[in-house]
Symmetry: C2
Subunit: 409 residues, 2 copies
Amino acid sequence: MGKPDYGKFFASRINYMYPSPVREAVAKIAYKSKIKPIISFAAGEPDPEVLPRDIYANLAAEIFRKVPKIVNYAPAEGVLDLREEIAKFMKEYEGVETSYEKVIVTVGGSQALDIVARVLLEPGDIVITENPSYVNTLLCWRHYGVQLTGVEMDEKGMRTDKLEEKIKELKNKGRLVKLIYTIPTGQNPSGITMNLERRKHLLEIASKYDILVVEDTAYNHLVYEEVPVKPLRSMDKEGRVIYAGSFSKVLGTGLRVGWLEAPEEVIEKVRYSKQPMDMCAPVPSQYIVLEVLRRKMFGDIKMRAIEAYKHKRDLMLKALDTHLPELKHTRPVAGMFILLWLPEKIESYAFADVLLEKYDVAVIPAARFFLGEEGRNVIRLNFSMAKPNLIDEGVKRIAKLVGELAEQV
Amino acid sequence: MGKPDYGKFFASRINYMYPSPVREAVAKIAYKSKIKPIISFAAGEPDPEVLPRDIYANLAAEIFRKVPKIVNYAPAEGVLDLREEIAKFMKEYEGVETSYEKVIVTVGGSQALDIVARVLLEPGDIVITENPSYVNTLLCWRHYGVQLTGVEMDEKGMRTDKLEEKIKELKNKGRLVKLIYTIPTGQNPSGITMNLERRKHLLEIASKYDILVVEDTAYNHLVYEEVPVKPLRSMDKEGRVIYAGSFSKVLGTGLRVGWLEAPEEVIEKVRYSKQPMDMCAPVPSQYIVLEVLRRKMFGDIKMRAIEAYKHKRDLMLKALDTHLPELKHTRPVAGMFILLWLPEKIESYAFADVLLEKYDVAVIPAARFFLGEEGRNVIRLNFSMAKPNLIDEGVKRIAKLVGELAEQV
């Protein structure tokens, strides 16, 4: 027959598969940075200079020698001792009472979210998210053919009044909402943290309309101010909250260790689903995290991260207030990101391209974090990986380009 | 509303999710082995005593210190240098001409197979596999609602004459076959290696009927005899073969590093699919494998594995010929497994339970590796992880129980 016509072999879900705009931008930036130095606000992860690589080097050397099982499969659910440590961690750091049976270790928080979809979502299901929301979850869940609907946010988080309106509106059309997906603390991409009142309201709504909640807690341990918030999961009395956890933002994204904590009925299905997907999460990484927790090193590593990123956040907010006082941006108390609204007429993709080409500054256009057209002129700025001494200069260059484009328009 | 009725939230695909019989057996065995010593033929992976944990300890310590990127996300496609090394590896060890662009690093071979399904398979698709076949692939692909059809094997591998008959038969009913899944070398669970003639025939059939082939090469580097076989991928002139690779069986399953090599058209979709699934495969593991390949250590590690497992295979075959001369079993030239047919009347699940309880010997009932009822009385024996000095004793105990049950029947 000769070369196959591959098109006819693909599953119809490939029509819902899109490249990640973040990864695409990062690839462009990596290419450019080989030619000349770049000021990058594009990243979405911790600073490798802040992460304790020496500690990991020592732990890895020790456990590869001492733990023969490190080179074998772990149970699909994860290394048992790690699951127990995670259950303790959730009590100590999150105020959540749980047990290891309800914890499944995953390949980062990303796989936790993919497995949630694998077990719960199918074509036509309705999922409500914050608008904007984390682009990789949107991309991933679209593989499952779901209908994603956004609810606007303000500086207090998701507008839960609007959430209820949306649910009612759908219900009137005979459509039921299955899941609410939220990143209540230090949201990606907005940096916004939902306040306690809204969190309670969201849980009330979930109960009233019989909806499950997926709480993405990736940024829960990077909080820079005293804010009286608690995880939704810690306030959930009915078993509606599925908790997606990650060590990536404090211990490093490269390790790929996250987890899913959920009611037993859900975890049972997650276990069956996960076994053949990947056999288990990477075992050396699981043991490194296990030892960090067991030896009580997490608290110090976290404090060091908070100190570094809080300083950078402050520098970036100051630079924005100085060089771009007229533009709207978020003021995060947690996480790694600030959203910046450019003047209405500026299209963020084109802006990011020119900014990189002409001014050697990298940012992420945020359009595809939004569910509609409202993010056309928005860019995401990361401060966690920025070099402190270049933050002011980078923002100054953004302001310069904004000024130039404003004149042209 | 109170506690949710979780049943109504699950996706319909949970009806196709089953626990792995291997993992269930392994859990039972782990429990028992805490109480008393077990002779285990149940494993499906390399012997940690054979794996070079010291080398990994030194490499890990070195790269955690030297490579800041090790704690960050890698590109979703994998660490670029590793993809390049894998392309070279495929040339050197497999006779396959490819380039890094067609290689995507995955979380072990398992995730490679899950992604194949994610991109290609949807409800109603027909996939033909060897019968029996690798249970985790069967479990995983069932999530996608496909119809799996088995073709019998003999000592030369899949009966390709029967394969063609099956395809024709389906075609006459208006049903087209989309994929053929094969583990041509050291198949799991049978240990059978497909001969060269059958491999060529399989490729001819794929071309003639316009079918894609997924070649699972997990055991390609554990070959104990001089056999004139080549990977299907190396003989594929049309771009029909999707190659699932794994370092697990030589370098250790715990690392979770495998890959997918496929035609550009397919790899493009794989890339889009993989990004949001897990962001990337574990980065420390990727760097350990990279350094093993770059420093030309793979060959020695492989030779050491082959030497150890060949010895154990010989001991197990000899024990079977001695203690169970009347029973049919496979005689693998590659891989880690021997299939043993118990007398017709013996049900393998019950047999495995009694064997463990009464004789402290662990085996895997193979029924669920078969697509029909024909595996009821078959057990899978692993030799790679067995203790050489206990192989004869373990087989003797199997023979003893077979004898006792034969008298009862």
